[in-house]
Symmetry: C2
Subunit: 165 residues, 2 copies
C-alpha cells in the first residue's frame, strides 16, 4: 500500500464524511446499509484504521454485532436522495436496497459487500468494538442521546480501498 | 475554522503520526509528555475529533485520568532523539522536559501546554474515554499486550490547531 494512496484516502474520508457515506454490513443472511456522517481515520494497533459509530437502536447494530467486517462507500456522484433515505429509514421496516435502488457488489477482501456505485470504497475487518459508557461521556454530550441509544464504536482495520467509476 | 485548514491538519496527522508526536498533558501540578505513534482523526459527536491511546502502565495515563484536555505536537524539525527519549523513558523516573531539553509554552485554549518547538499543535478537550476491554479485541491483537497493559482511548474535541516556526 503506497503512502500517498493512504493519504488521498484519508483526505477523502475527512472531506466527505460529513456529507454522508454508506456503511454496509453482512453477517450470515442478514445484510443492511445505513448512512453515517461521523468517522475517524488513522493508525491504531500498527495498521490503517477506520472507526465508525452505530447506535444500538439501529437495525445495522444487530448485524454489526455478528459481523466480522464492514465496508464504507463514499459516493462520487450526487446521491443525496439515497443518503437521506438510508439515514432515516430502517432496514427493519423496508428493504433499503430496493427502496433506494441501490445495488451491491462483492467486496475484494471481506464478506460484507460494497455499494455498486461510482465511489471510494473501504473494506475493513473489525478489530475492536466498544459500547459507549455514558458515565465516561463529557457532560454536554448527553444531549446527543435523548433516547439513551448510545453508539457502539467499531474499529476496522483497513484491508483494501479503491475507487470505482 | 476553514475546511481546507482542517483537511491540511488531517493530512499532517495521517502523514506524520507514525514518525512520532508529543502527547502533552497537565492536571493540577502534574505534567508530562510522551511519544505517540498511533492516532485517528475525523468527526465524531459533530466535531473535529482526535483519538489518542495511552497504556495504563504509563505515567501519562495517571495524569490523563485527571485531566480535562491534552495537546499533541507534531515536530516540523528532526527531533528523533527527543521522540525516542519520550517514547522510552518514564516521567516517573526523570523529568523528561529537562532530559530531552524540551520547553513548554502555554496553549491557546486548554490547560495542558504545548511543546515549544517548530511544529503543528493540536489542542483538545477530552469528550470521551474508554479503557480497552480485552474481551472485545480481535484475537491477534492480544500479542500487542504481553504485559496486559491495555490502552485507554481518549477522544479529544479539537479546539484549536496551528503551526509555529
Amino acid at each position: 500500500m503506497k503512502e500517498v494512496d493512504y493519504l488521498a484516502l484519508s483526505e477523502t474520508v475527512i472531506e466527505r464524511i460529513k456529507n454522508g457515506a454508506f456503511l454496509t454490513v453482512k453477517a450470515g443472511d442478514a445484510l443492511n446499509t445505513m448512512t453515517i456522517g461521523w468517522a475517524t481515520i488513522g493508525f491504531a494497533w500498527g495498521n490503517p484504521t477506520l472507526m465508525v459509530m452505530v447506535r444500538k437502536s439501529r437495525h445495522t447494530f444487530t448485524i454489526m454485532e455478528n459481523a466480522a467486517d464492514f465496508t464504507v462507500t463514499f459516493p462520487l456522484t450526487n446521491m443525496q436522495k439515497e443518503i437521506n433515505l438510508c439515514g432515516t429509514k430502517s432496514g427493519r421496516d423496508l428493504d433499503k436496497f430496493q427502496a433506494a435502488n441501490l445495488k451491491i457488489r462483492p467486496a475484494r477482501k471481506v464478506i460484507s459487500p460494497i455499494i455498486d456505485t461510482p465511489g471510494l470504497h473501504i473494506e475493513c475487518t473489525i478489530v475492536y468494538k466498544a459500547a459507549i459508557d455514558p458515565a465516561s461521556l463529557v457532560k454536554g454530550h448527553e444531549k446527543l442521546y435523548p433516547r439513551k441509544d448510545y453508539h457502539t464504536l467499531y474499529f476496522g482495520e483497513i484491508q483494501e480501498w479503491y475507487k470505482t467509476n
